[in-house]
C-alpha cells in the first residue's frame, strides 16, 4: 500500500536524471525489485499508471525486473538463487546439499536505468 509513494520516488528520480540532459524527454524507466523488498510489482505498476495518467509522463514505460533471493552456501561458498522466486531459505545448496545458507541479495529496490530521447 506504500506503492504510490514508491512510484512517485521512482518518477522523481527519473526526472532528475533526465533534467541533467537539456531538452531530453523521458521514455522509460527500469527498476529492480527484490522478492524481499516488501514492494508488490503489480501494485507498483498500477500506482505508476495512476500517478502518470493524463500527465506529460502518460507514455513513460515502467520496466520491472523481479530479483530472486540469492543465498551463499556456508559450506562450499557457492551462490545460488532460491527456486521459483521463493523469498525463503528452504532450498539446500544445489552443489553440496548443505542447508546452512547466508543471505546475499533479494531486497533490492533500485532504479537500474532511464531511457531518454535527446534532441
Amino acid at each position: 500500500m506504500h506503492e504510490v509513494g514508491i512510484a512517485s520516488s521512482i518518477l522523481d528520480a527519473a526526472h532528475r536524471e533526465t533534467a541533467l540532459r537539456p531538452g531530453a524527454k523521458l521514455i522509460s524507466i527500469g527498476v529492480r525489485i527484490g522478492v524481499l523488498s516488501g514492494v508488490d510489482i503489480d501494485a507498483l505498476r498500477f500506482a505508476f499508471e495512476c500517478i502518470t495518467a493524463e500527465t506529460e509522463d502518460e507514455k513513460v514505460v515502467l520496466t520491472t525486473e523481479k530479483c530472486p533471493r540469492v543465498n551463499r552456501c556456508e559450506d562450499c561458498g557457492d551462490e545460488f538463487s532460491s527456486p521459483q522466486l521463493s523469498p525463503f531459505t528452504d532450498a539446500p545448496c544445489p552443489r553440496c546439499h548443505c542447508e546452512r545458507t547466508k543471505f546475499v541479495s533479494g531486497d533490492q529496490l533500485d532504479i537500474a536505468f532511464v531511457e531518454v530521447e535527446e534532441p
Binding site: 531459505t89 546452512r100 532504479i111 532511464v114 531511457e115
Partner: protein, 234 residues
C-alpha cells in the same frame, strides 16, 4: 534514444536521511530500536511494560507513529519519559524525515535509548530505514503462525522477533514452533523471544536482550513489572 545507467536506490533520499540519523545516534551513543507489527500485536503494551521497569532518571525517549490520534503518546506519557506522537495523517509508515523532524526539539545527549513505535503495518515500514540499530518485529499468538511466510520482508530485516500475548496460547490454535520455523525460513539468524505483558513471562529475557544491546551495562532496575490491565481498563 539513449539509455542512461542510473544504479541508485529508489528510496535514495530516505537512505541519506537514515544514514545521517544513524551517525547522530552513534555520536550520542543512543540505542535506537524500531518496533514493527500488525495493528494490535501489542507494541504499545510492550513499551508500557518496558518503560515501567526503568528508573525515572534513565534517559529513555519514545516516538510513536499512528495514522491518527494522540492516544498512544498519552498511554506512554504516564511512565514519565519524553514521548512524541507522530501523526502521519494517513501515511502507512514512518520515514526518515518524520523522525528527523520529531527529534528536533530534543537534545540528543539526553537520550540513551530511543524506542520508535512504527505505524501498525507489516508491509510498508519494512522499506524505510529510520537509522535504527535494529528492527524488532512483534507477532501475537492471536494472529496466524504463517505471517512470516506471508510478509517475508519484515521478518527478513528484523534482528529480533517477539512473540507476544503467549499467556493466551492455551486458548488459541497458534502453533508456536511452526511460527518460529517459518520466521527462520525467511531469516535463519533471527533471535526469538516469547513474552506476555499480562503475566510478565519472558520479560526478564527481553530486558536482558535490551541490556546487552545497551553495551552490557549492568541492569539498573530489577525485573520488569507488568502493567497488566492498563489496556483493558479503558
Amino acid at each position: 534514444m539513449t539509455v542512461v545507467r542510473v544504479e541508485q536506490k529508489v528510496l535514495n533520499e530516505n537512505q541519506r536521511l537514515a544514514l545521517e540519523l544513524r551517525r547522530r545516534f552513534e555520536e550520542n551513543a543512543i540505542l535506537c530500536l524500531n518496533f514493527i507489527s500488525s495493528p494490535g500485536s501489542g507494541k504499545t503494551t510492550l513499551l508500557e511494560s518496558t518503560l515501567a521497569a526503568f528508573l525515572p532518571e534513565e534517559k529513555i525517549a519514545v516516538l510513536t507513529g499512528d495514522l491518527q490520534t494522540e492516544n498512544d503518546a498519552r498511554r506512554i506519557a504516564r511512565y514519565g519519559f519524553p514521548v512524541q506522537q507522530i501523526v502521519t495523517g494517513g501515511v502507512c509508515h514512518l520515514d526518515g524525515k518524520m523522525i528527523q523532524r520529531a527529534l528536533e526539539p530534543w537534545p540528543l545527549e539526553n537520550i540513551d535509548v530511543l524506542f520508535i513505535e512504527n505505524v501498525g503495518n507489516l508491509v510498508c515500514p519494512s522499506s524505510y530505514d529510520l537509522g535504527e540499530e535494529a528492527k524488532i518485529v512483534l507477532l501475537s499468538v492471536t494472529e496466524g503462525e504463517d505471517k512470516p511466510l506471508k510478509y517475508p520482508s519484515i521478518f527478513h530485516k528484523a534482528a529480533l522477533l517477539i512473540l507476544t500475548k503467549v499467556d493466551l496460547l492455551p486458548y488459541v490454535p497458534f502453533d508456536i514452533e511452526a511460527a518460529k520455523a517459518n520466521a527462520r525460513q525467511v531469516n535463519p539468524d533471527i533471535e526469538i523471544l516469547e513474552v506476555s505483558c499480562a503475566t510478565g513471562q519472558g520479560m526478564d529475557q527481553w530486558r536482558a536482550w535490551l541490556d546487552q544491546r545497551r553495551g552490557n551495562r549492568a541492569p539498573v532496575a530489577g525485573a520488569i513489572n507488568t502493567v497488566a490491565g492498563s489496556d483493558k481498563q479503558r
